[in-house]
Structures are given as C-alpha cells and as structure tokens.
C-alpha cells in the first residue's frame, strides 16, 4: 500500500499541473479562435466595403426549431460582386462570411444536379445558373412556392419524387437482343425525338410554377409527364408498352389536366419543351382512342 501513496500523490500533482497547463492552453486557444474569427469578419466587411460593386440580396429565412427564426422573415445581405457571379455564389458567400446557418441545397454548381432551384425575383430558377448581373436589386431569394419549407430555402421534395416515380419511370421492352454485346438499334431521328425529354434534372421548377399542380395534389405534373414521354416515344420500347404508358398518362390526373399555360416551359432550366410534350401526348392518346376525361 505504502508504495501507492507517493504514486497517487504524484499522479495528482501531475494532473494538477496538467490541468493548469490545459487551462492555459485552452485560454490560448480561445484567444486564437477569437482572433482568427475576428480577422475573418473584418476581412469580409472590408471586402464588402471596398468592392466596386455589391449586390443586395433579400433572403427568405425560417427555421421551425429555433424560436427566433420560427417567424418567417427576410434577411438582407450585401455581397461583393465579382464578374460572372451567380445567385448561388452570392448565397455561398453570405453563408461563409455572414451567417453560417443560412441553409440551401446545392452541389454541382453547373446546372446538372438540380438541387438549387429557387424562387428568385418572382420566378423559378437554378441559383447556379442565374447571373446576378441579369437581375434587378434588391434580389429576392425565396424557396420554391407550392412546397413545404423545411428550413430557409430548402423545401420538401417528397411529393415531387413520388409523382416522378408514379409513371413507371424505367425502360421496359420485350425485345432485347440475345447477345450481351448486341445493341437494340435506334435511329438517329428517334434519339433526336426523345433527346430533350431526357435532359430533366428533377429540379422541380416546373412543378412549382404550375397553377394546376398547385391546386390538384394528384396531378402528375409536367416533369413526370415528360418522363413518361421520354419512354413512350422511345421506339425501342415497342407499341404494346406505348399503349400502356398512354393509359397511365390518360388517368384522371394525367395529361388532360394541363391547361397549356406554358409556365413550366418558361421556367425549365434545361429548355425542355414541356407543354409541347404534354400536347403531343394528348394527341397520341386521341389517336389511340383512349378514354377522354
């Protein structure tokens, strides 16, 4: 036992010095953290002040969890401008330099992942594809209308995904070639015909802009109909399958709900002629003598 006494004393004293040392280190670290953080803020403020140009953004804010943020509001951000800057760049700058809780979806920065569709100055656009210089100030940035807001600019996409998945959005054919190295031939013309429809990036801008979709929760909506078009018009699927696809599209909440308002076509960032595709499917349906709601 006796040998343990000095040992534990020693242990205590080392922990004591250790904890004193730790306190010192912690204090130093805190100091450093404060210094770095202050520097960053000062630099950001300086950049904003000295920039030849700043852009004024009014950004929608809402957080269901934080009491001060439960009441939707708009925050003002003044972002220093650089040639070529997009709405997404501005949001990222504001988040990284002013308020790290500013929340939005984004990933590719090149109009292909479809995650940053927003409501900018009153219309649906991809943040990454919209140049600040094309907009009039103050620039209002809001979440997509007609969808539940999760937080700030993030909306719930479940309904959109459900509609997309309701049209059997996958290739189906009975006539696959036998050889695993043999292709199903497709004419260049046919590929051209479906090409635009295959460009959809699931951004949901069209759905958000559509009055009919806003009023009828079951309406398939432009993106899902376009997805069905992509397969219905693909000659490789064959006639039987086309028939089946037209039946899906002909259902009560299908193509006939479209009132050709063209708002989807106007907002689609991939320039897909959505209204035209919907109209064409209506014509096909008539040709096929299907039900008429």
């Amino acid at each position: 036992m006796s040998t343990q006494v000095p040992e534990s004393v020693e242990e205590e004293s080392t922990t004591e010095t250790a904890s004193a040392g730790k306190q010192k280190r912690d204090a130093k670290k805190r100091e450093r953290a404060e210094r770095v953080q202050e520097q960053r803020e000062a630099e950001a403020a300086e950049k904003a002040r000295s920039a030849d140009d700043t852009f004024h953004l009014k950004v929608f804010r809402y957080d269901p969890e934080v009491p001060e943020k439960q009441e939707p509001r708009f925050d003002d951000f003044h972002v220093p401008y650089k040639q070529g800057m997009t709405v997404l760049d501005a949001l990222m700058w504001a988040r990284d330099h002013y308020d790290s809780s500013l929340t939005f979806r984004h990933s590719c920065r090149q109009a292909i992942c479809g995650s940053d569709a927003l409501f900018v100055n009153g219309s649906q656009r991809l943040g990454c594809k919209t140049q600040l210089s094309d907009l009039s100030e103050p620039i209002r940035v809001e979440p997509l209308p007609h969808a539940d807001v999760v937080k700030d600019l993030v909306v719930d996409m479940e309904h959109f995904y459900d509609q997309m998945e309701s049209v059997e959005p996958y290739f189906q054919t009975n006539s696959l070639p036998d050889g695993e190295l043999d292709e199903q031939r497709q004419t260049r013309e046919n590929r051209e015909k479906v090409k635009m429809s295959t460009r959809c990036i699931w951004c949901s801008a069209c759905m958000s802009s559509c009055n009919i979709a806003a009023g009828d929760n079951e309406y398939l909506g432009p993106a899902a109909i376009n997805k069905a078009y992509r397969f219905a018009m693909d000659e490789r699927e064959g006639e039987d399958m086309k028939q089946r696809r037209l039946e899906i599209l002909e259902q009560e909440h299908g193509v006939w709900r479209c009132q050709t308002q063209f708002s989807c076509t106007e907002v689609c960032p991939k320039d897909i002629p959505l209204t035209e595709h919907i109209q064409e499917l209506k014509r096909e349906a008539i040709k096929n003598n299907l039900k008429f709601w």
């Binding site: 953080q37 269901p64 292909i112 992942c113 700030d152 996409m157 996958y170 699931w202």
Partner: protein, 615 residues
C-alpha cells in the same frame, strides 16, 4: 438501428451499380446517401465511357492504352478486368434504355479521346454522365431498392483488432440531414463505399461541393490504407472563373488549343508532336501552364480552346451541352469565339486500396468508383476510363458483398507479403487532432481490443460515440468556423500541391495543414438547429478534407520522381528501378504511416514493359 444485408454508401454511378448487382444476387440491399441519387456528381460527366465494342478494337488494346496512360503504375489485373468487362457493362446500360448517341446504322456512337489508340469512347452527347446516372437510378426504382437519401454517413463501425487485416466492418453511422437524428445501420454482409471524388480539397475544381472525400477518410481512419493519393488529375480544359469542365470530347472532335499569339502551341513548342491536343491530360495541363508561365497565356491565366471550325451542326449534334456551359458560366458563345480554359483539379487516381473484387483489407468493407483505388489509373487516368470503372467495379463489389463466389483476386490488400516501410521528411507533426483531443480509430476505443463484441453492439457503440461528437460540436458556443479552415486548406493546396510540385512548396502545404488541424480543435457550429444543419455537415466534411489534403501532400513529398500527373521540379525523370511501387498510407494511432507495395505489371498473358511515354 436499421439492418440490411448490404449497405451501399453513396448513390453515384458506382453506388447505384453496386446496389443493383447486390440485388441481383438476392441480397436485401439499401443505399445511404447524403444527396438524393440523381444529385450525385456522376451526372456531371460529359465525355463518355471507354469500351472496346467494334471490329478492329479489342480489350487488349484498351488495356495496353490504360497501362501506358497510367505511366506503369496501374496494376495489370485491375486494368485488364476493367477493359474486359467494360463492353458488356456498357451494352447493359444500353439494354436499360440509356440514350446513347447513335450512328447512322443505329448502333451506339464512339469517338476518339486522349491517349486512346482507337476511337472507343461511347457517349451520349456531352451529357454521358447525366444519362448514365438517370438510367441507373431508373433501374433502382424498377427494383424497388431502398434508398435513405439525405443521410450523411459519418463513420464506419469496424472492430478494433490490432491489425486492420483482422478487422471486420459491421455497418455505418449516419446522420439524417432532415431531422438531425444519428442512427446506426448494421450490414449483415458488407458495406460498400461509393462516395466519389475529393475535389473540394482544392479551390479550383471540376468537382461538386459534395465531393469532400468522406469515404476515403472514413475508411482510412478505420484502418484501410489509402493508395497513391499524390496522383491527382488536373483537367486541361476547365473554365477559369468556376472550374466547370469543358469535356475532352471537344478536343476529340477536333478542337484546337491556342496561346495568346494565336500559336497552336501543342505542336509549335513540341509538347506532343504526334497527338497534339489529344495527348494525355497531364501532358496538356503542363503545356498550358508552361505557356502561361512563359508569358504566352491570355491575361496571364489561361489559353484558348477553339471549336468554331467544327461547324454549328456537328457542335450541336455532339457537344451541345458545352455551348450552354460556356455561355452560362463564362459568358462566351463558343460558336462565335474561342473558350478560355485552364487546368483544374478533376479526379483522384488514388483512394481506398481495394482488389479487383472491390474488397479492402477489412473484411466486409468494400469500395468502388472514384473513392476506390483498385489501381486501374495508376499515375494518370485516361479520359473516359472512370465511368467504366463505376459500372465494372461497382458491379463486382455488389456481387461480392452479396455473397457471390468470385474468382480469387490477384491483387493483395493490406500489409501482407511484399511491402516495405517508407519514410518522409515532414517539417511538422502529422495527423491527429480531431474534434477535441483524442484521435482513436473509428471502430471503438483501444480498451476494447480483443474483447469479442457482437456486430450490433459495435454499431451501437459507434453511434454513441458519434452522438457525443456531434453534441460536442453543437454545444460549443464559440470558436472558429469551418469555412475559415476549409478555405485555408483549399488555397494552400492550389498554391502548393498543384500541377507543378516542388519540395519547399509541399512542405509549406504540410505546415498549413498542421495549422488548420490545430484550428480545427476549436471548430464550432454556429447553427444550433437539428433541422437541415448544413453548417454541421460541412464541419464534419472539413475534417475529411484535412486528412486527405495531408495524404496527397505527403505522398507527393515522398515520391522523388516524375510519373504521370505527378511532376516534381527536383526530379524530372521517371525512376522505374525505385518507384514501380504504390504509395500506401495507413492510420496508425492517429498518424499516417507510410509504406509501399510493388506494382503488378504482369497481365493475364503478357507483361506490360514500361516504355517511355511519348505522344
């Protein structure tokens, strides 16, 4: 806790293919992904998929080009597997309805690409990746495979035996982005990492913001070595202001590079007298930067890529997407003017060490796609060779994890057999520094070593550890924000560990990374909400960026030679006697341990003799 046979982390091309393959084998498979599948970065791939499909071409030729392109740092069994399997995997996509571009006879089109001896790049306009990703996601929907989307995986649940080769992976821990809930996912058979690239280590990159190398860093901290991390590919044609990629297809179709004097410099200055613009990527990137450094760049920054002479019809038919990218992101209409381009970070040749079946040295842990290194690309990846990698190795990993009998792998993983320890002269202490002071392996704490714990318990414990980490981050009231730390690392990497590398700069980078690690000890999350907290997620990602930046730099410092994309000022030669070996880094008590394993140049029935690469 959720439970499945096979859990795939990530839903890009590799993850989707792996999930479909596991499902084919009858496994109960689920995907856990921080992005919804169609948001994955595979969608951004433009140029195409290499596959030897035509008369006059063969998988052997494709393998030869791949080995040569790799500067003899690829492992032949992996490269041959890639080239042998690619044709049928590519046609499988066609059978799934993928909208490939077509020839007049209705077959899928192919075009020339850099470093290829045959025009074997199969494509869908300049949006091949988009078409591939969506086609594969459609197949997932068709099969009803479960996807947990917007779940951010933060660690692996791996047992903690002393040697990584004895460890088992039992599952993962993930964070539900929408609700902030941390949950365990137990995998009865295996976990497949398919988390994609790590471009966010740099500040000028073609990669998405989500490409933060999470899978590589998680596997590393759980004990699987990182392989050949110093080999980073810089793509010669990215738009200067954003890093958006202009596909190699432009050069494949006949696009020409000019310097400020209007000279076609690839020929004019002898960078590649035979292939010119179609030399491999490392060669063209260096040529462009040399032009800029020698004062022949435009605005001291970039060069011009001109495709106007191809004619509007051909451009719209094959490269339409490029017209939009150039207009939207650079304000240049390439039908009327040449596009400004410069090199940008593009692809990580290195990654988690795997064999040809996608397996790592940890049982039950697999990796496929860009996060993995089965070593098909070696020192330099050929354009159009990553997409086939996703489908070939994604499928193999999926089958293997689901329990299908696979041929025995020829590549060995982990520290077995023929390896040698390495040394590197670092100016600062490496590694360590997580959130708080301790840095233990992700599997558990050292105290548990040897005790037998069930898989479920192991996952549960990993979940508890992770909850604690996240609580700590959220409870801190002040400190340094991740954006500051991330930016420092990204800038330093671009400045010091870019296309041209020299010892002093590499050491500067290691010092900067060390400093960033120390700042990271004080990182805090200002957003206290549990709902969609991107501040928190970025903070977790930044930790991964740190580990990966260090690995890249360390490997670059250690490799005293010039091979593939790795150019060293002090060493202007490929040194085969000493360096036909892979750089390996293992997480050893919180520090990187450097070791090497030999390259396998023996293929099925021939050996790829290193030759001088000339284009």
């Amino acid at each position: 806790m959720y439970e499945h046979d096979v859990i795939v982390v990530g839903a890009g091309g590799a993850g989707l293919r792996a999930a479909i393959a596991a499902h084919e084998e009858g496994a109960d498979v689920a995907i856990v992904s921080k992005l919804h599948p169609v948001r994955s970065h595979t969608g951004a791939a433009e140029g195409g998929i290499n596959a030897a499909l035509r008369e006059g071409d063969s998988w052997e030729d494709h393998a030869y080009d791949t080995m040569k392109g790799s500067d003899y740092l690829a492992d032949a069994p992996a490269a041959e597997t890639l080239c042998k399997d690619s044709p049928k995997e590519t046609i499988k996509l066609e059978h799934w309805g993928m909208a490939f571009s077509r020839d007049d006879d209705g077959r899928v089109s192919q075009r020339p690409f850099g470093g290829l001896s045959f025009p074997r790049t199969t494509y869908a306009g300049a949006e091949t990746g988009h078409q591939l990703l969506h086609t594969m996601y459609e197949q997932l929907v068709k099969r009803g495979i479960k996807v947990y989307d917007e779940w951010h995986v933060t660690r692996l649940a791996v047992s903690d035996e002393e040697k990584p080769e004895d460890r088992n992976c039992h599952g993962i821990v993930a964070y539900d982005v929408q609700t902030g809930q941390v949950e365990g996912f137990r995998a009865r058979n295996g976990v497949i990492l398919a988390t994609g690239g790590l471009g966010q280590v740099y500040d000028h990159t073609t990669n998405a913001v989500a490409n933060t190398g999470d899978g590589v860093a998680m596997a590393y901290r759980a004990g699987a070595p990182m392989e050949d991390m110093e080999f980073i590919q810089f793509h010669p044609t990215t738009l200067p202001s954003t890093g958006v990629l202009i596909t190699e297809g432009v050069r494949g179709e006949g696009g020409i590079l000019y310097n400020e004097n209007g000279e076609r410099f690839m020929f004019e200055y002898g960078y590649a007298n035979n292939l010119g613009e179609l030399a491999s990527r490392d060669v063209v990137s260096r040529a462009e930067l040399t032009e800029v450094n020698e004062g022949r760049g435009i605005e001291d920054e970039y060069v011009h890529l001109d495709m106007r002479h191809l004619g509007e019809e051909r451009i719209i038919d094959r490269l339409e997407n490029i017209v939009h990218l150039s207009e939207d992101f650079e304000g240049v209409n390439p039908l009327e003017a040449p596009m400004p381009v410069k090199p940008g970070q593009h692809y990580a040749m290195g990654g988690i060490e795997t064999d040809e079946n996608g397996e790592t040295c940890i049982s039950g842990l697999y990796a496929a796609g860009e996060c993995a290194c089965a070593s098909v690309h070696g020192g330099n990846r050929l354009g159009g060779n990553a997409l086939p990698e996703l489908i070939v190795f994604g499928k193999r990993a999926g089958h293997h994890a689901a329990g299908k009998d696979m041929e025995e792998a020829e590549i060995t993983t982990g520290k077995v057999g023929d390896y040698e320890l390495g040394e590197v002269d670092s100016p600062v202490e490496l590694g360590e520094a997580g959130i708080g002071e301790d840095a233990v392996a992700d599997g558990g704490t050292a105290a548990d070593a040897g005790a037998s714990v069930s898989g479920v318990d192991l996952v549960q414990r990993a979940v508890e550890d992770e909850r604690e980490t996240i609580d700590t981050l959220l409870e801190r009231e002040d400190g340094i924000q991740q954006a500051e730390i991330r930016e420092r690392v990204q800038k330093s990497m671009t400045r010091n560990v870019n296309v041209f590398r020299e010892e002093s700069a590499l050491k500067d980078a290691l010092r900067d990374i060390r400093e960033a690690r120390e700042l990271y000890q004080d990182v805090f999350v200002a957003d206290k909400s549990r709902t969609f907290n991107t501040d928190l997620l970025q903070t977790l990602e930044t930790r991964n960026i740190l580990d990966i930046a260090e690995a890249i730099t360390l490997g670059a410092l250690a490799r005293n030679e010039f091979r593939g994309a790795h150019w060293r000022k002090e060493y202007q030669e490929r040194r085969d006697e000493e360096w036909l070996k892979h750089t390996m880094l293992s997480w050893n008590d919180g520090r990187p341990e450097l070791w090497y394993k030999p390259v396998i140049l023996e293929g099925e029935d021939k050996t790829y003799e290193p030759k001088v690469r000339s284009y």
